[in-house]
C-alpha cells in the first residue's frame, strides 16, 4: 500500500476520483442553471427533477425500446430539451413579467409533480442501468484502479462543459446570448428575436441536466429522489461561485466535488455538510460569490 506522510494514497486518490465524478455532475447542473439564469433571471428549481427525468428516460429507452446508451446520450437530452422548450413557452413565458419569485415557485411545483409521478410509477427504491459493454472494465494505474466508465464520466462532462463555454464565449450565437444577458431590450431593438433565443437557451440549459442524468444512470441508482438531493447541493455551489460567469460555474462545480471527496477521506462525518459550510464561509467573506459580479 502506497503511503505518504501517513496518508493512504490509494484511499485518497479513490475519494478524489469520486469527488471529481460528483464534481462533473455539479458542473453540468450548475452550468445549466447559470445559462438559464443569465438570460431569464430565474432559477430553475426543476433542474434536479429534469436530471432525474434524463436518467429515467435513458432507462425507459433501453427497457421499452431497446435504445442503447450511445443513442440515448443524444436522444434523451434532445427529448428533455424539447420538454424544456414547451415549459418555457407555455408555463414560464406567461409569467415572465411578474416577480421572479413566481417562476421559482412554478418550477418548484413542476419538480414536485415530476418527482411524484415517478415515485408513483416506479417506487422510490431505484432501478439499475447497466454500464455499456464498451466502457466496462478498468485501467490499473500505479496508485489506483480506474474504472473506465468513471473516467468516461469525467471526460464526457468536461467536453460538454468546455464546448458550451466555447460556444458562449466565442461564437455568434453565444455573442447574442451574452448581449441578451446584458440588455435584452437593446438587443430586441436591433432586430434580434429575443423570445426565440430565450426559449432555445432554456431548452439547452435543461438539456444539459438531461445529459447529466443519462451519464449518471449507470453509476447512481435511477430513483425519483436522485434529483432533489443533488439540486440543493448545486444551489449552494451556485451561491459559492456566483452566477456571473460560465467558466466560474464549471470551475466551482468541479472544485466543490473535489473538496467533498477530500472531506470524505479526512473527516467523513462532515462530507454531507462541507459544501454548505463552504457556502457559509463564502457568504461571510465574499457575499457576491467567488466569481460574482454584482456589488
Amino acid at each position: 500500500m502506497a503511503t505518504f506522510l501517513g496518508i493512504n494514497l490509494f484511499g485518497l486518490s479513490g475519494q478524489l476520483l469520486v469527488g471529481l465524478i460528483n464534481g462533473s455532475f455539479y458542473a453540468l447542473l450548475s452550468l445549466g442553471l447559470a445559462i438559464i439564469f443569465g438570460l431569464l433571471r430565474i432559477i430553475n428549481f426543476a433542474q434536479g427533477a429534469i436530471y432525474m427525468l434524463g436518467a429515467f428516460f435513458a432507462w425507459m429507452a433501453l427497457q421499452y425500446f431497446g435504445i442503447n446508451y450511445w443513442a440515448a446520450l443524444i436522444l434523451v437530452p434532445l427529448a428533455v430539451g424539447i420538454i424544456g422548450v414547451l415549459m418555457e413557452r407555455f408555463l414560464l413565458r406567461p409569467i415572465a413579467n411578474e416577480d421572479h419569485l413566481y417562476s421559482l415557485l412554478l418550477t418548484f411545483g413542476l419538480a414536485l409533480i415530476l418527482q411524484g409521478i415517478f415515485t408513483q410509477t416506479y417506487g422510490s427504491s431505484g432501478l439499475s442501468y447497466a454500464i455499456p459493454e464498451s466502457l466496462k472494465g478498468g485501467t490499473r494505474l500505479p496508485f489506483m484502479y480506474l474504472p473506465n466508465y468513471r473516467a468516461w464520466i469525467i471526460v464526457a462532462s468536461l467536453t460538454v462543459c468546455i464546448s458550451t463555454w466555447w460556444a458562449i464565449e466565442k461564437t455568434k450565437l453565444g455573442a447574442y446570448l451574452r448581449a441578451g444577458t446584458e440588455n435584452p431590450q437593446m438587443m430586441q431593438a436591433f432586430g434580434i428575436n429575443v423570445p426565440l433565443i430565450v426559449t432555445i437557451t432554456f431548452g439547452f440549459g435543461v438539456a444539459l441536466a438531461g445529459f447529466a442524468g443519462v451519464i449518471a444512470a449507470p453509476v447512481y441508482a435511477v430513483s425519483p429522489e436522485m434529483g432533489s438531493n443533488i439540486l440543493i447541493v448545486v444551489f449552494a455551489i451556485v451561491v459559492i461561485g456566483g452566477m456571473g460567469s460560465i467558466g466560474g460555474a464549471i470551475i466551482t462545480g468541479l472544485g466543490m466535488g473535489v473538496v467533498e471527496g477530500l472531506t470524505k477521506y479526512f473527516y467523513p462525518e462532515a462530507s454531507t455538510t462541507i459544501i454548505f459550510l463552504v457556502m457559509v464561509v463564502v457568504l461571510l467573506v465574499k457575499p457576491a460569490g467567488l466569481f460574482g459580479k454584482e456589488a
Binding site: L91, G109, G116, V233, F235, A236, V239, M279
Partner: protein, 309 residues
Amino acid sequence: MKINKLYLALFIFALIAPAALYPVFLMKVLCFALFACAFNLLLGFVGLLSFGHAAFLGTGGYVTGYLMMHTGVTPEIGIICGTICAGLLGAFYGKLAVKREGIYFAMVTLALSQLAFFFYLQAPFTGGEDGMQGVPRGHLFGIIDLADNMSMYYFVLAIFIFGFWMIHRTIHSPFGQVLKAIRENEPRAISLGYNVNDYKWVAFIISSALAGLAGSTKTLVFQLASLTDVHWHMSGEVVLMTLLGGMGTIFGPLLGAGAVVAIQNYLSGGEMGNYVSIIMGVIFVVCVLAFRNGIVGEINKVIKRNFGS
C-alpha cells in the same frame, strides 16, 4: 369595526370548534397556521422568500422534545426554550441570508436548512431516521395535565393567538411600516437612511422564533419530533400554504394552512396517499399561473370591487 367582528367570530368559532371537529386535526391546523403566518411575515411583508423555514420548525421541535423527554421540565419551559433556540438559529442564518437578495436569498436559506437537516440526521440525540418518539406532554405550570386532548387544544389555541398577536403587532408597528417600505422600494428605503439589512435581519429572527414556537407546540401535540419537520419538503409546504391562502394578507396563511392540512388528511387516509406530492405540485402551478393573490387576496379583490374600499 368590521375587522374586529371578524376576529370575534373566528375566536368564538375556535372556542367551540372541538365540539364538531377532531381536536388533533384542529391542533395540527393551528400549528401549521402559526408556522405559515410566521413565514408570511417574511414573504408577504418584507418580500423575502425563505426556502429554509423547516430548519426553525424542526429546531423548535427537537429542543422541546429533548427537554421534555430528558429533563422533566414543564411544557411551557420546554416551548420557551425551543422558541429561543429557533430564534438563535434564525439570528445566525438570517445574518448570512440577508447578505443576498431575491432568488439568491431563497437558495441560501434552502442550503442552510439542508445543513440543519444533515446535522439532525447525524446528531446522536435526535434518534436519526426514527426521530424522537413518545415525547410526554407533561403538566402545564405543573398543574394542568395536557395528556387530555381538550386541555391541549386550548393551550395550543392560546399559543396560536399569542403568535398571531405578535405578528399583528409587528406588522402594524412603525417597524412593520419600514418593512413594507423595504418590500415596495428597497433603494428608496436605503436612501431614507434605514439600515435595510438590519430590519430584514430582525424580521427574520422574529419569523424564525415564531416558526420555532410552532414546531415546539407541534412536538407536544403529536408527541413526536422527526426529520420530516426539517426536510426541505416542509419548507416547500409552508410556501404553498402561504401562496394558496394569499401572501401578504393576515388571514391568508391561516386559511392556506387549513386547506393544505385538510387535503393531506383527506388523501393520506385512502389509496390516494401517494398522490399528495403531485397534487401539491399542481396546486403550486395553478396558483402561480392563475391565482397569484391566493384565496384571501381574491376575496379581498371581490369585496373591493363590489363594496368599494
